[in-house]
Amino acid sequence: MTTERISVDTDQDAKNNGVSGTDWEDEVKRAALVPITMRLGLIWKVSVALLSLVVLSGIAAWIYQLKHGLGSAGYNDQAFWAAYIVDVVAFIGVSYGGAVISAILRLTGQSWRAPLTRLAEGTALVTVIIGALFVFPHLGHPEQFWEILVYVNTSSPLFWDFLAIGTYVVATVVFFYLPLIPDMAIANKSLGQGGRPHQFKLYKVLSLKWMGTKRQRSLIHGAIGVIALIIVPLAVSVHSALSWAFALTSRPGWMETIFPPYFVIAALYSGTALVIIVASAFRKGYHLERFITERHLQRLSYIMVALGLVYLYLTLADFLSEGYTGISTGWIYQTVVGRYSIPFWFYVIAGELVPMVLVALKKTRNIKGITIAAVGVVIALWVKRIVIVLPPATQPLIGGQWGTYHFTAVSILVTLAGVVAIPLGLMLLFRILPVLSIDEMIQADPVGSFERISQQSLEMVRLTAPGTHANGKHPDEQESEVSK
């Protein structure tokens, strides 16, 4: 690790490199606000149209399901929980990762987080909304949802799920909004009315007359600190409550004390991977290479791999605790060598081994390799949730006939709609709001690393013609050399 060596005297380095603070601020503002002001390109429009089409297809499939029942999504007497509960757990899980990563980096004062926080918090916001919405297709009669409030059953984990998820959604919204306030003032000032009176008005209202005074800063930092402190245990409670929906049933394979940490770590693992994917995609798509560097993604990948190892350990512990007693091992057999062995080993290979190798090898520890590893983790962890849900659900408690579940067009379309709603939601969100946390990047503690890395990258870009860089090397390569 090279953190110590690259975190020295960045101001002096900046001066030596001839990069003034004003240049840096201007570049940050420009990069963050360009996605808002730019004319929409054909690729953007076509992407949004296609993604919207898939989302609409999913909504149509859900309406079809409302008419024809959950059987149209492949549900049956034995597979009473299947695709949609997997989606609820997976989507809320990735949201959790984004929020907690951002909160922990804030609480520990990691200034290198600054270019990533807006993306991480935006991802958390979008995915938690999508995840919470998956509860409705999961319910056979969603019109009865209100009864959870009218006929309160405090003995049911579903009631606590409702409370925990509802509280977490509110916390995510607040956690996203508070750091946005200074940026709204900056956007308001930088963009002016610019032919967009509605947007101007929105920024003005959301900026709360932000002037950047010391008292304002003290207030907002205190509030963000409190919310960051709350959101970590809150997110833990959300996934614990979700796991209790399984663990409090008398069903081998679910009824386990290990489930709350098992779910929490899975959420963190997949959430960190999604932040890497989103950061990598926006870095490329919105030309943020100067600000989100290879080092950022490498650091996130280290966190991801550490969480992956913990999750692998918990998976083995899950098997051990029930397998050792031998009371009910049918679901373990079916998972490891039986009918669910293919998805299980897919998780082991694509969700554990390949990401570890890609991050471990210096040759593949680059943006491309890390992004591939993260994609593998997100997909494999969704598949792993299937392996957690289906074998215990379909195992026979009386008799010897195992139940079956087959994905149908309805369940596939609804799930796919949720998947594509993430990039769609983020693209629309960052069409309105700054993609980078401008104020944080300007105000960040210089005894970090990202400013130096980014300012050097900026300097190299300024000194070279478009398409080439100083010494003929990419900024990331330069940065790697600096860090060595």
Binding site: A171, L178, W210, M211, I442
Partner: protein, 197 residues
């Protein structure tokens, strides 16, 4: 014809039946068919059981009385036999029963036993089980729940915790929304940016 031999057989059979029974009993049996009347009473607030009491009238000792509970637990609704006991010298047969749920329960009793579960007992009685007596019930149908005695406190504590989180969340947001505009005219604006004012 064949009519005369048939009447002869019938008379002889009747004489044989009367002859085999004690005089009083046979008279009662012939004059009044025994019936059964059912009452149900709780044996006390602290008890776990209900006492089903069937009275055979006129009083006949040693009569087998079967007690039933109407149930819809199984396919269709029908009468489930709980057990039976014999009437005493006062014609009273009793049976102790522990209800498994609260609500209105319908009990029945029959001299002997019903021919099928679809038949209706000759005496029925409804009884409202208001609440599970202390210590009753759960152990019969399911395992005792851990933390059962502190459950309500736990729920209240958790709900208070959730409420506290909401207060902090909304409170922080409201505080920022109210105070940030007030602090806009602070002594020293920080280095970088300002709003449009």
């Amino acid at each position: 014809m064949k009519l005369l031999p048939m009447i002869t057989v019938a008379l002889l059979s009747g004489i044989g039946l009367i002859a085999s029974m004690p005089a009083e009993a046979s008279a009662s049996a012939l004059l009044t068919a025994p019936s059964v009347k059912l009452t149900v009473e709780a044996t006390g607030q602290s008890s776990n059981s209900l006492l089903l009491r069937a009275t055979v009238a006129p009083p006949v000792p040693g009569k087998k009385v079967t007690f039933y509970l109407k149930t819809s637990e199984f396919e269709g609704s029908g009468w489930m036999a709980l057990g039976s006991s014999s009437s005493d010298s006062q014609g009273i047969a009793t049976y102790s029963y522990r209800p498994t749920s609260t609500g209105i329960e319908t009990f029945g009793s029959e001299l002997g036993s019903l021919q099928s579960s679809a038949s209706t007992p000759s005496a029925t009685f409804q009884f409202r089980v208001l609440r599970d007596p202390p210590g009753f019930g759960q152990s019969v149908i399911e395992y005792p729940r851990p933390l059962g005695s502190v459950g309500s406190m736990l729920v209240k504590g958790l709900l208070s915790l959730v409420g506290l989180v909401w207060v902090v969340l909304i409170g922080s947001l409201v505080m920022v929304i109210r105070r940030v505009p007030k602090f806009a005219s602070g002594v020293q604006p920080d280095q970088s940016e300002g709003a449009d004012q």
